[in-house]
Amino acid sequence: MEISKLPQEQQDLLKSLKKAIVAIDEDTAKKVAQDIVGNDIDPKIAIKYAIAGGAIAVGDKFDTGEYFLPHLVMAGDLMDEVGKILEKNIPAGQLEKKRLVVIGAVQGDMHSVGKNLVSTMLRSGGFEVHDMGVDVSSMAFIDRAKELNADMIALSSLLTTTMPYLKEVVEDLKAMGIRENFKIMIGGGPVTRDYAEEIGADGYGKDAIEAVDEAKKIFS
């Protein structure tokens, strides 16, 4: 995001906020966010530059091995907190609605690490994420997606014997006549893009970074 047309003082504040978010420096980030609000900087610009830009920088650090899952979690928490401070001055009707993703590992699957990575990266990538954990039944996914009016259901399967549940969610949605209400993205060790196409999913992520790109592509 281009901020060079803003006064130097405002540019400095935005750069400081982004830097603090990327460094996961909670105290500095919150203080600078308050200063940004106090200086009447357009909060939408601040969110786009410092939070969305910060999320990309954090993702890059994860990609290069400098950051790990806990850093993503802590950075995500910090971005939420900073976002709340910045959003205070945005009228309710003008708040940009985030796409909501219901995510979890399918029934019988207790593997959480990959799913947690995708969940955290989606959050950092600007999605609102509702993580249902592991061993989640197909109907529980559907019920929660309906209840929250979610945009997407993201499903993880690490076992050959839990993969049929990926198909089951798609088929159950079809049987209930609500398949078009939700996008479906799948992933996990044995899952492939071919399999995603075979069962009629909308997207596939081979890893956390690709999953975020895929989710963005689905809604573009």
């Binding site: 790990f68 899952l69 019988g108 699957d109 690490v113 990575l117 014997t161 839990t162 899952v191």
Partner: protein
């Protein structure tokens, strides 16, 4: 004295309630603190800790981590903790030997010392991989069972029941299908002339795992029951169901836990500390008599990257230098490369050499890291390789292991992210004679000769 299992169950109901994310982040913060305080540093130049001094510090850090945060019960959202006194008594009361198998195939799996000469027990087989049909499964199991360099075989899964119905975890089909796999394993070991050989399989659900136990046609008391600790430092009742069954029926419990580089352990230093703590979880909470102490890297589809070799190897060494526990290493179980490639053999050997030299057994089978839905993605020859390498590495010192492993890493580590897929059983074996096809036999011989040139002495 060991903490009674029912006391552990009580603690899953009475321990402090904690949000899962808070527990995960406390694991991260504590491992970061411990690695600084105990001066635990990963140096990629040294994939093997030769002196053992670092491993001793890792052991103390692992004990402190487990005592500080305990294990997280995902059913009750409570932390299960033990006192230092209880932990030391538990370690002291754990057996230093268990007997597995029956008759002429019975073996004693004992605590192994670092660089020790105690026999390394090997349970190979194409672990948890899918098979196309019962006949193919039988052929591959039988081929594995005929190799005298291994003491047991791991089972896999059939993709379809009667060639038609999907096998689904948590559904009744899972119970039916897993039971069928162990019946086929028993037929295969009988026909291979090794009826008392160890057979192991572990289903996604405890119901299907328990249903496999049957003295006549399934798993026996002389095999072990696997009880898994979830990554990282977590336990679910479904895992403890397996422990409960095993304790009630006199089956030895084998625990498994993997710390995660890239997960909440973060770096390799964190992962080696958590691997020790996870092992302590397995003996205290799951009531394991032997256990697999492992590490995975969430960003690499192989268990044999340099950082994983270091983290898992150091943790195994830490446990074997400081306790008399029975440690399973199995680091080489899941290479990134597929069967029929030299890379598979290099990766597998690197892990199994470190496991064995650090005092580990290797009872977790072998297969390509990602097999997906591809059936018959493994052959008896990889199983034999696992056995041959583990047995050859008994008595090898850490300095030699370090040299060989560095040589192996130079062969494959830059190819891990784009590892060759290899081939399935049908393309690597003669389906009539059930012998490896000449090109695979030749490749195997070439690699074996290469290892002999590196100083590894094979038994046969």
């Amino acid at each position: 004295m060991r903490i009674p299992f029912n006391e552990i169950l009580l603690r899953t109901k009475q321990g402090p309630i904690i949000e899962e994310k808070t527990f995960d982040l406390s694991l991260f913060k504590k491992t970061q603190e411990l690695q600084k305080r105990y001066d635990i540093k990963y140096n990629p130049e040294n994939p093997v800790d030769i002196s053992g001094e670092l491993a001793d510090r890792v052991y103390r850090a692992g004990v402190e981590l487990f005592l500080d945060i305990g294990a997280y019960c995902t059913n009750t959202r409570r932390a299960v903790k033990v006192t230092e006194r209880e932990l030391l008594a538990e370690i002291d009361a754990c057996p230093d030997a268990v007997e597995l198998g029956q008759g002429d195939d019975r073996v004693k799996m004992v605590h192994r010392d670092v660089e020790g000469n105690q026999e390394a027990i090997v349970v190979a087989g194409i672990q948890t991989a899918p098979f196309s049909d019962e006949e193919m499964m039988y052929k591959i199991y039988k081929g594995c069972a005929m190799d005298r360099c291994i003491e047991g075989i791991w089972g896999g899964i059939l993709l379809k029941i009667d060639g038609k119905y999907d096998v689904i975890a948590g559904a009744p089909s899972e119970i039916y299908q897993y039971r069928k796999t162990v019946e086929i394993m028993r037929r295969a070991i009988n026909d291979a002339g090794r009826p008392g050989m160890i057979t192991i399989n572990n289903a996604p659900s405890s119901a299907a795992t328990i249903a496999m136990f049957d003295e006549e046609a399934g798993l026996r008391k002389s095999d072990y029951m696997e009880s898994t600790g979830m990554s990282e430092l977590k336990v679910a009742y479904d895992d403890l169901n397996r422990s409960a069954y095993a304790l009630a029926h006199g089956v030895s419990i084998h625990g498994t836990h993997s710390s995660t580089i890239g997960g909440f352990s973060a770096n390799p230093e964190g992962a080696t500390i958590t691997a020790v703590a996870g092992s302590l979880q397995l003996i205290t909470i799951h009531k394991a008599e032997s256990f697999r102490c492992g590490t995975v890297d969430s960003r690499i589809k192989s268990r044999l990257s340099r950082n994983q070799l270091w983290a898992a190897g150091t943790a195994i060494q830490a446990l074997n230098r400081n306790t008399r526990l029975i440690v399973d290493g199995s680091i080489g179980d899941h290479p990134g490369a597929g069967p029929g490639t030299k890379q598979y053999l290099y990766e597998s050997a690197a892990g199994h050499i470190i496991s064995t030299v650090m005092g580990g057994h290797s009872t977790e089978g072998t297969r390509k890291f990602v097999v997906g839905n591809t059936p018959n993605y493994g052959t008896p020859l990889e199983s034999r390789w696992m056995g041959e390498v583990c047995k050859a590495a008994v008595g090898v010192d850490r300095k030699t292991a370090d040299r060989i492993v560095k040589y192996l890493l130079s062969k494959y580590e830059d190819k891990l992210k784009d590892a060759p897929d290899g081939d399935t059983f049908e393309k690597l074996y003669d389906m009539e004679t059930l012998e490896p096809l000449p090109h695979y036999q030749q490749l195997y011989g070439e690699v074996k000769a290469e290892f002999e040139n590196q100083g590894l002495k094979f038994r046969g």
